[in-house]
């Protein structure tokens, strides 16, 4: 009844709407597109100057090779197949480390968020561990787990753990008590309380936690691979440094940026899908 009213309420609105609609995007782009262009001017100029200086051999090529040389290096490695091997192993490390860290963060975050006793027992310890710079654990990990995969995965997991743990634990403690009362009113079991009220309520914060956990996983894979690896993008960097090929180092930086951005985008798209049309 009310929709019908809104649809046919103002007949002239049907005419007005398209003009408004066709104007709105134009106006939007007239503001946003130049913004994007303006933002691109400096980087493009830098690339251009860099390219020209490198071509004129005013920059030592083993110190700062031209952007086209960097691109060509990446392309050649990709064509030879090496690149995919390194990207693959790094991505696998991130995936496994993130999975472990995020699972642990989810488990402990949910535990401390739901049970006050668990929070009182565990949170002080976890908070003090969090204040230790994670890289500081590396020697211990190496001692315990050796130089191979395990220590790398452990470091990445540690990076992914804290943002997930923190966001979930805090969000679960701050679910609107007024909504929890609705669950009480309908006599939900504690199981239903978690499934039907608490989890959906904390989902937005949890997704943010997962995203920053994933970001940190990428950060820590760089550290882990720089500290000693025989494969992976980080290894490429070390290799480039050892053999004095700056193009490989720069190319690896670029690869990290692209990979990190891609997974973040995938995660945020999955999150948006999960959150659906709800507000916030």
């Amino acid at each position: 009844m009310i929709t019908a009213q809104q649809d046919h309420w103002l007949p002239w609105k049907a005419d007005a709407a398209p003009t408004l609609d066709s104007r709105a995007p134009a106006k939007k782009s007239s503001v946003n597109l130049p913004d994007a262009l303006v933002g691109g001017i400096v980087p493009l100029a830098v690339l251009f100057v860099w390219e020209v200086l490198a071509r004129l051999e005013m920059l030592p090529p083993n110190w700062l090779p031209a952007p086209t040389v960097v691109a060509k290096t990446i392309y050649e490695m990709a064509a030879a197949g090496d690149l995919w091997k390194h990207v693959g192993i790094t991505a696998a490390r991130v995936a496994l480390g993130f999975l472990l860290g995020a699972s642990g963060g989810t488990l402990l975050g949910a535990l401390t968020g739901y049970f006050p006793v668990a929070r009182k027992l565990l949170d002080p310890l976890l908070q003090s561990l969090r204040s230790v710079p994670s890289i500081a654990w590396v020697p211990l990990f190496l001692l315990w787990l050796g130089i191979e995969e395990s220590s790398k995965i452990a470091l990445i997991s540690l990076g992914a753990f804290f943002p997930v743990y923190l966001s979930l634990s805090v969000a679960m403690r701050h679910v609107d008590p007024k909504l929890l009362e609705v669950g009480q009113l309908y006599r939900l079991s504690s199981f239903e309380m978690v499934g039907r009220l608490i989890l959906p309520a904390v989902l937005p914060e949890y997704i943010v936690g997962l995203r920053s956990g994933l970001g940190l996983a990428w950060m820590f894979v760089v550290a882990a691979e720089l500290l000693g690896a025989s494969r992976g993008i980080g290894y490429l960097m070390v290799d480039g440094q050892m053999t004095g090929r700056a193009a490989i180092i720069l190319g690896s930086v670029l690869l990290f940026a692209v990979c990190g951005k891609t997974t973040d985008w995938m995660m945020s798209a999955a999150g948006a899908k999960l959150l659906g049309h709800r507000a916030r």
């Binding site: 009480q184 009113l185 507000a279």
Partner: protein, 265 residues
């Protein structure tokens, strides 16, 4: 909505369930800045199937009283009995509409109305949801999310959610406060209709004296500091009631006088 008119006069058989016996000596809130007595010496008997309206100034403990009846407040001196059994916590035989709508933002309108119906089969559930959404005139909004609704629409969804549980005791905290005059009158008629069909006990808090006299068998007038019952007035008018009727206005005047008497005292 039109069908509401027809049955309004049908007399109801006496329901056997939903008798409330309220005897609250004191309800205190203890906070960091000391304690506050929200309710004092509340003694009230509500017969099964009775429609009771509570009026009174802001802060006189109406919401607190309703929360005690719902079983959400259990720390107080005294006791409240429903059909002879002490109310110790919430139960599905009591439904509540809060002063705020309290819809779950991640559920659509229809999912919100279905929230308390998880024990029904999907077919039964969807039939009920549609019935009560029709009743509050929001069927066409069933796929919307709460943030897409106006305040009054959200409140109507909350009413549908409470009604869908078909409680023996229905507790409503200013349910029509955010509705426009026309929708309010329509919703009042619908509520009477549901009440007569289900023969539930209804306790409704309102600031609107006319609404109280229009709906209630008994109007409970409360006064603040500490919140207590000032008087209980019976409304012996047959339904449907005529808001412009002389008798109606006489009772309305009496309720107003009770409220004013305290304010001026």
């Amino acid at each position: 909505m039109e069908k509401a008119k027809g049955n309004e006069l049908t007399p109801r058989g006496a329901p056997k369930k939903g008798a409330l016996h309220i005897a609250i000596a004191r309800k205190k809130f203890v906070g960091s800045q000391g304690s506050l007595t929200a309710l004092r010496d509340i003694s009230l008997r509500i017969r099964p199937g009775e429609f009771v309206c509570i009026v009174g100034g802001s802060g006189c403990g109406k919401t607190t009283l309703l929360r005690i009846l719902a079983g959400l407040e259990t720390q107080y001196e005294g006791s409240v009995f429903l059909d002879g059994r002490r109310i110790a916590g919430p139960d599905r035989n009591r439904g509540m509409v809060f002063q705020e709508h309290r819809l779950l933002p991640w559920l659509t309108v229809r999912e919100n109305v279905a929230f308390g119906l998880s024990r029904l089969s999907p077919a039964e559930r969807s039939g009920k949801v549609q019935h009560y959404l029709d009743l509050v005139g929001l069927r066409s909004f069933e796929r919307q999310y709460p943030h897409q609704l106006s305040g009054g629409m959200s409140q109507r969804v909350a009413i549908a959610r409470a009604l869908a549980g078909r409680p023996e005791v229905l507790l409503l905290d200013e349910p029509f406060a955010s509705l426009d005059a026309l929708t309010r009158i329509r919703m009042q008629a619908e509520l009477l209709q549901v009440w007569q069909a289900e023969r539930s006990t209804v306790v409704l808090v309102t600031h609107d004296i006319e609404e109280a006299v229009y709906l209630a068998d008994q109007v409970v007038v409360m006064s603040p500091q500490p919140g207590t019952i000032r008087n209980v007035l019976s409304v012996d008018l047959s339904r449907p009631r005529e808001r412009t009727n002389h008798q109606f206005n006489r009772i309305r005047r009496a309720v107003l006088d009770e409220l004013l008497a305290h304010a001026l005292a």
